[in-house]
Amino acid sequence: MVQNIIDVRNLSKSFDISSKEPGLKGTIKHFFRRQTKSLKVIKDISFEIKEGEIVGFLGANGAGKTTILKMLCGLIYPSEGSIFVSGYLPFRRKENFLKTITLIMGQKQQLIWDLPPIESFYLNASIYDLDKFEAKKRIKKLSEMLEIDEELFIPVRKLSLGQRMKSELLAALIHEPHILFLDEPTLGLDINAQINLRKFLQKYNKETNATICLTSHYMKDITSLCKRVICVHEGEISYDGKLDLLLKKLSPVKEILIVCRSEEDAIKLENSGFTVKNKIKNEITIKIENNSITSSLKTILNNFDIEDLFINEPPIDEVIGKVLIKKDYEI
């Protein structure tokens, strides 16, 4: 039985936020009497993640997904509730715990800007107590996997964003962590760099059975990497489950464009009881429920003279977009 590597119970986080009214009056008032209020950004959430799982955290900007990741890796202190990651309380930042995790933030870097990435890699290797031989071996392996062998000796400031991101990944993975926290790792990368990064993460997960917690606004990251998603809405979990179940729930019907051989066939099809969205000459678009798609298509192909047909999947961004603005999705 696969064990839970992350166990979160009734977790909450509040931040003290100071507010200021606009204008000179507001500025003076703010100077003498600062008004702060406690804002609960994470509200009593619970979930578990199993070893080797890749879980996507979905949510609109400010929903709280990055705050959850920061608490999971021990960067910030929770206000209430409990978190156990790999058996440790993350915020205590015990050395053995820190050696099992890594955090990669798409918009933040840890590489030394004016030096080639190789210097940062060796530095990280010594921070994680790797000897030079082992460090060399891992740098070679990871740089081959990430295809950045040639960039290792070029100062970071001269690298492209994609090359820099790959180098960041290498620096963050040199100690072979078992749990990866990735906060928008493909942010700002071009399509090819995004694809390569996803492939690498899949490979890393497969080879090391690492657990990956990921946030991203690029739906392709989520759909190609995560089987399970946790949707966060205003600090609460609005959905926790399989991604394909969520998609089915959110878009229960598919649209099928059927091109008939003649207009008469199209009229016959229009009157055969299917839900028709529109009809233009011999082309007709019908809506079929996901669970009856095979039987319906069989009926159509057997009874009508069909020239061609196209199944239109609703755009994933559009579908997931719905979950980001709604609170509860019960499956």
Binding site: G74, L75, I112, E119
Partner: protein, 264 residues
């Protein structure tokens, strides 16, 4: 074994930071040049014959200010500014989840900068001796070694003071403003502008209870050969380190609980 591994971490950090600092050699040369306040002070003191009131000869006074310049060069600390920027911009976040306190990075950065600064400080000293040939002297080896130790202890005290102030970032966000307050006593009571011996006896007795005279005055007097209580000074330096270190640990552990990882 653990100690060996720790040493390796620090050595690698130092090596990497030194490579990094070499990228900024022109900037470091300018910083070294900007530390010549003691020479201006020497000029004010000798022009106005102020040294007569404290029974220090012109030669000894010029040696004192040269040594003050050297001690300052190798004990200057700016960790509060670096940490404040990194903390506010969220750059400190990746370092916080590594098994090494991020302050070791800053520590290595400072040491690496001092190594880079060394040749420039020597060049400035060379020019100082050209204009003041009567001040040339060779300190004996034991005094030189003790002065190096004392300068390093002075650096440690300043680093700890600034690190404690830097940790206030977790509460105030603008900890450098507090550091500005500390800058005033550091400037006046450390011996940078005037040897502490020139202060009235009553003030002096209070000053010696603070860490400030052990930052520049004591190591500079030691190196320049002026009369000073060597063991007393070294003990006070060590005592301040023992006092400040646990305070830093406490404020660090409390502060990190307040960290909000802003900007990341």
């Amino acid at each position: 074994m653990k100690f060996k591994l720790f040493n390796r971490k620090i050595f690698t950090l130092l090596k990497v930071q030194y490579s990094n600092m070499l990228e900024y050699r022109v900037e470091i040369a300018l910083w070294a040049l900007s530390g010549i306040i003691p020479f201006f002070m020497l000029n004010i003191w000798t022009t106005n014959n102020l040294n007569e009131s404290i029974n220090i000869s012109d030669v000894m006074l010029s040696r004192y200010f040269l040594c003050a310049f050297f001690v300052r060069q190798f004990s200057v600390v700016w960790v509060v500014f670096s940490f404040e920027e990194d903390s506010l911009m969220g750059k400190v976040s990746p370092y916080l989840i590594q098994p090494l306190n991020p302050f070791f990075r800053y520590f290595a950065q400072h040491l690496a900068e001092q190594i880079t600064r060394f040749p420039f400080a020597l060049i400035i000293a060379f020019f100082f001796f050209i204009f003041n040939p009567e001040s040339i002297w060779i300190p004996n080896l034991s005094i030189l070694l003790l002065s190096i130790v004392s300068t390093f202890l002075s650096f440690l005290i300043q680093f700890l003071i600034q690190s404690i102030v830097a940790c206030l970032c977790f509460w105030t966000e603008k900890a450098s403003s507090i550091e500005r307050l500390l800058f005033i006593p550091t400037l006046f009571l450390s011996g940078l502008l005037a040897p502490v011996v020139s202060f009235p006896a009553f003030v002096k007795s209070w000053i010696y209870l603070t860490p400030f005279p052990y930052l520049i005055d004591f190591p500079a007097n030691l190196l320049s050969g002026n009369a000073t209580n060597i063991s007393g000074g070294l003990i006070m330096q060590i005592l301040w380190i023992f006092l400040l270190f646990p305070l830093f640990r406490k404020i660090w552990s409390e502060g990190t609980k307040k960290y909000t990882a802003m900007g990341s």
